[in-house]
């Protein structure tokens, strides 16, 4: 078989036209400065209208507003009516996120951790304080069943909110390395639902607590003296106090004030459908977290006092306290109760409990 060259084809008129057009296009492309990118020359800066658009979108106000007023652009409108619905990108949100991650979380963790460690060290160093080792065998009724229930009702809700709130706040850095992302996701979801659900219950418990105890927590004579002597830390013996001492009164009003603040800010976060903007929500978030950290630290100290002081928890468990404990911490109240003849012997208390157990008669509960 010999090689045969392909036969020459005749170029048609349309073919000529195509060739001419292609050559012209090649010349045109070669002549364009931007067509061939040159690495040794700086590229020309071209204003991209998209950049301006997104910068405006990010900042929105006041640039857009002033431009709209000048008539340079149309007003920012959206068919969805509501707070911030015309905002596509919110720079403040990013700022808030960074603040939360870089400031709020580490600083609050340091505060809570420091308080916990200090209290633990104090407990290890001092141990359980025994104000008066003499057991007199006498008892005083300090809290009735309703008051004890109310206290533990609030305590249970507060602890639940504390655990779920801390899971939401510190979960990412602390729990993900321990339990993994998937488990943490479920934990965080459960914590959020539980926190949202129990938040309003905390408000209810707070109001019931206020209604029950506010009168006994009003300032009375001698409270300042108690405070100056720091409840006996300075000057030896414990200064006289009424039913509640100044420390307990301060805790009560702090709990009420900060608790209400936490509840109010929590409700702002819980119901975003009432027209509050992002800025208000961020402020509420900040107040909520700072208030919660303050209360958690305070309640840690409260728990420490309950555990570390012998006899302090008795009143909140069974209602009755040892007379010597009452005399040591609440001398004025103990003296008043003694004058009223309300000091009971241990046998009497046992007998009353025994009677209650036998025939179903409630314990003597003054004030119920």
């Amino acid at each position: 078989m010999s090689f045969r060259p392909p036969p020459c084809r005749r170029v048609t008129r349309s073919g000529w036209i195509c060739w001419v057009l292609l050559a012209g296009l090649a010349l045109l492309v070669a002549d364009l400065p931007a067509a061939a990118p040159s690495h040794d020359k700086p590229s020309a800066k071209v204003d991209d209208p998209g950049t301006d658009l997104w910068r405006f979108v990010r900042r929105r106000a006041p640039e857009l507003r002033s431009l709209a007023e000048k008539g340079a652009i149309g007003p920012v409108t959206t068919q969805v009516k509501g707070v911030d619905t015309s905002v596509l990108i919110n720079d403040k949100g990013q700022e808030w996120r960074l603040y939360r991650h870089r400031m709020l979380i580490p600083i609050s963790a340091i505060v809570l951790g420091t308080v916990a460690v200090l209290l633990l060290l104090l407990y290890l160093a001092v141990g359980r304080r025994v104000p008066d080792p003499r057991e007199t065998g006498k008892r005083l009724l300090r809290f009735v069943a309703y008051e004890r229930t109310l206290h533990w009702f609030m305590a249970a809700i507060f602890l639940f909110l504390g655990v779920t709130g801390l899971t939401i706040l510190y979960g990412r850095p602390l729990l993900i390395p321990l339990v993994g992302k998937e488990s943490f996701s479920a934990m965080a979801s459960a914590s959020k639902e539980g926190h949202n659900l129990f938040g309003p219950l905390f408000l209810v418990s707070l109001l019931l607590f206020l209604q029950r105890f506010w009168r006994r927590n009003l300032y009375s004579r001698g409270d300042l003296r108690w405070l100056i002597r720091l409840g006996g830390l300075l000057g030896g013996d414990s200064p006289p106090a009424g039913f509640f001492n100044m420390g307990e009164k301060m805790l009560f009003w702090l709990l009420i004030a900060v608790g209400l603040l936490i509840c109010a800010s929590g409700l702002v976060l819980l119901f975003p459908n009432f027209g509050q903007g992002r800025l208000l929500m961020e402020g509420a978030h900040l107040i909520h977290t700072l208030g919660a950290v303050l209360l958690l630290a305070t309640i840690m100290a409260h728990i420490y006092m309950g555990i570390a002081t012998k006899g302090a928890m008795d009143g909140m468990k069974g209602g009755y306290v040892e007379y010597s404990w009452a005399r040591h911490h609440h001398r004025e109240w103990a003296d008043e109760e003694e004058k009223k003849g309300r000091v009971l012997s241990e046998e009497e208390v046992r007998r009353r409990f025994g009677e209650a157990r036998k025939i179903g008669v409630p314990e003597r509960e003054a004030g119920t």
């Binding site: 069943a145 533990w152 009702f153 249970a156 459960a190 639902e193 539980g194 219950l201 209650a356 157990r357």
Partner: protein, 212 residues
């Protein structure tokens, strides 16, 4: 494996177990009858129905003392009833697996209110049971167990509200299944027996001339 067990056989077992044992207990109560009263009747037969409804309110003597428990009790029971039969996930679950037909569910806000009432009421009552020496004395371990089990079932149900995690839903379902199995042996049976006990007491005392 565990998920399939909870979602399938264990659910069927606990549901049937609850139905059969609870029904059996009810039949035993109904067929047991009551001893014949030898006392001369002071009233015509009746009084059962009135007592069933009258006992929805506390005795006047106890109204002030038991005020908080009364409201907490109603908050818990009404909230629980609303959650059990009208929470949207429950309506869906029951219609798909039990009844075969659906009914209107609570809107989300009403669900939240019902959950708050039920959880708050039960927590308060469960703590009062521990704190009050009388109720503590007359409560058995089973009573405490029943209270806290119901509380846990409700709590995990709220955790799983948005059904975002299968593990949370399964945890709730598992606890509900345990509750169904425990229910017929516990004081929770009062949910089914209260009309009989009230009616019986009312009828007996009415016959003796006492309206309670």
């Amino acid at each position: 494996m565990i998920a399939q067990l909870i979602d399938g056989p264990l659910w069927l077992f606990s549901a049937w177990f609850f139905l059969v044992v609870a029904l059996w207990r009810l039949l035993v109560i109904l067929f047991k009858g009551r001893p014949k009263s030898l006392a001369k009747p002071r009233n015509a037969p009746g009084g059962a129905l009135a007592t069933i409804f009258r006992r929805f309110l506390p005795y006047p003597e106890f109204r002030k003392v038991s005020r908080v428990r009364f409201w907490a009790g109603y908050a818990f029971h009404v909230g629980l009833l609303a959650l059990l039969f009208f929470a949207a996930p429950h309506v869906e679950f029951l219609s798909q697996r039990v009844t075969g037909f659906s009914w209107p569910a609570l809107p989300h806000w009403a669900f939240e209110v019902a959950a708050e009432l039920a959880l708050g009421g039960l927590l308060f009552l469960a703590l009062f049971r521990l704190m009050d020496p009388v109720t503590r004395f007359i409560s058995s371990t089973g009573d405490h167990l029943a209270s806290w089990l119901v509380f846990l079932v409700m709590l995990t149900g709220c955790f799983a509200l948005w059904r975002s995690h299968e593990s949370l839903r399964l945890l709730h379902l598992f606890l509900a299944e345990l509750l169904l199995i425990y229910f017929p042996f516990s004081s929770l049976m009062h949910a089914l027996t209260f009309p009989f006990s009230r009616g019986f007491t009312g009828a007996v005392y009415h016959r003796k001339g006492v309206n309670i």
